[in-house]
């Protein structure tokens, strides 16, 4: 993979396509999860994330797997786009719920779909309520399994700063759960 990265940095089109095809599924999943919606805007953001990855590869120091690096780029790109997409969704004809993939209607029952939507909305609300830097740390560590040191190294911040942000994010999360029986039910906390 490292050799492939070198060829990408050198401007090899075939290598770039191969690398993006390899890490693309993970990047797409991360973008979809963070945006918590299904719309063709996903394609926009995924493309931006791929462009970002290619642009950032010259700085890639090989301190983590390329896939890890790509997922982080995807998460950051998606988080940065959330606010803009939320604004657009207020008026755009392609609002999230109108762009569910075709299989959904024949997939879960209405009740299941409602439950899934509740979870999606809950995830979206939690991410929106947190300051951006806390949301970033929360997704990278809690959801994707980045260590504090990995986040600190990639973000160029002291590990204690990252740890502090993570603690604040978790405190906000706990307080939100404790204050909302509805959220507790969705999260199945205490069962």
């Amino acid at each position: 993979m490292v050799a492939l990265v070198r060829r990408v940095v050198a401007g090899d089109r075939k290598a770039t396509r191969s690398l993006l095809a390899a890490v693309g599924p993970a990047m797409l999943r991360a973008v979809r999860k963070v945006l918590a919606r299904s719309t063709h805007e996903i394609e926009d953001v995924a493309q931006e994330a791929m462009e970002a990855l290619v642009a950032a590869l010259p700085s890639f120091r090989g301190e983590c797997p390329v896939l890890h690096f790509a997922r982080r780029v995807a998460v950051l790109t998606a988080l940065a786009n959330r606010r803009r997409l939320d604004l657009r969704a207020q008026w755009a004809a392609d609002a999230p719920d109108q762009a569910e993939p075709e299989g959904v209607a024949t997939g879960p029952s209405p009740a299941e779909a409602l439950f899934l939507r509740g979870r999606r909305d809950a995830l979206q609300a939690l991410l929106d309520e947190l300051p951006a830097n806390q949301a970033e740390v929360l997704v990278l560590h809690v959801a994707l399994g980045f260590t504090v040191d990995e986040i600190a190294g990639a973000a160029g911040r002291p590990a204690e700063t990252i740890r502090s942000r993570l603690r604040l994010a978790k405190q906000a999360l706990r307080d939100r759960i404790q204050a909302s029986p509805e959220l507790s039910e969705i999260l199945e906390v205490g069962r």
Partner: protein, 302 residues
Amino acid sequence: MSAQPSRCREDLFARSRRGQLSAVEQRALDAHLAVCDLCRAAGAFAALYDAVPDHASAADDVLIARLADRVAGRAAAVGPRRRPRALAIAAGVALLVAAGGAAAWVSVHGFPSRSDESPAAAPPRETQRPRAVAEVAPAPAPPNEEKPATGARVATRHAGVSERARSPRTSLATAAAPTAAELFADANAARRALDLKKATDLYLALDVQFPESAEAPVALVSAGDLLSRLGKSAAALHAFDRYLNRWPDGPLAPEALFGRARTFRQLAHREDEIDAWRRLLRAFPGSVYESAGRQRLGELLR
């Protein structure tokens, strides 16, 4: 509520998320979770994240192949990437995801400009736009008296972006002018197709024709972002400043401030760039640009 331990087991939690825990480590993590409500909350968040469907489908392979091909083609056109001189990965990633995303970073670090336009030679787009045509059907939103422009001239000028715009009906002055939503959709489509020039023109046309529309703020910041990527620095600054003057506390104010800082960097206006970063950090501490801003300020003030 249980007593909160002084320190969480982030190492174990991360390894657990990666599926790398041994049985002993799993027991240690379970013991920690039993007494740490913060990590239990984190665990609930992780479960929620896992449970939210990502709508993966068989069509994903096609989508990824299409995106990979598109991005690879664009990267090949740019040529070999050079290592950023000053910014580390963190700053790079933070920059690249900003205000319209990834390619913003590229523009800072050597994205080939399609224009050699200098700040002095680059009047804001509004001053280049044709004046209003009287017989054009009025736009739904009140026209901006300061910068009247619109209608058929703009619609004709941007014809070719969409099937609708190409149709004979919309190319005539007597036809209905595109709505704000239509312009916005066309601009987004052009941006997706990497036709940045058309996308920029459409975003700016939207702002001029429908300055009070809900789409205008996003269009303005998007236009600034694209103008910056096209190397039209003065016009980009004008777009960002226009947004900030109209919506100083707007939802996209951090993006507009970031865009200003990035554009001043392109122009190598050190003092202006310092002021821009400071303004951003002062107004929006904790934004996604904080890390990149502090790092860049450190470099500038060294």
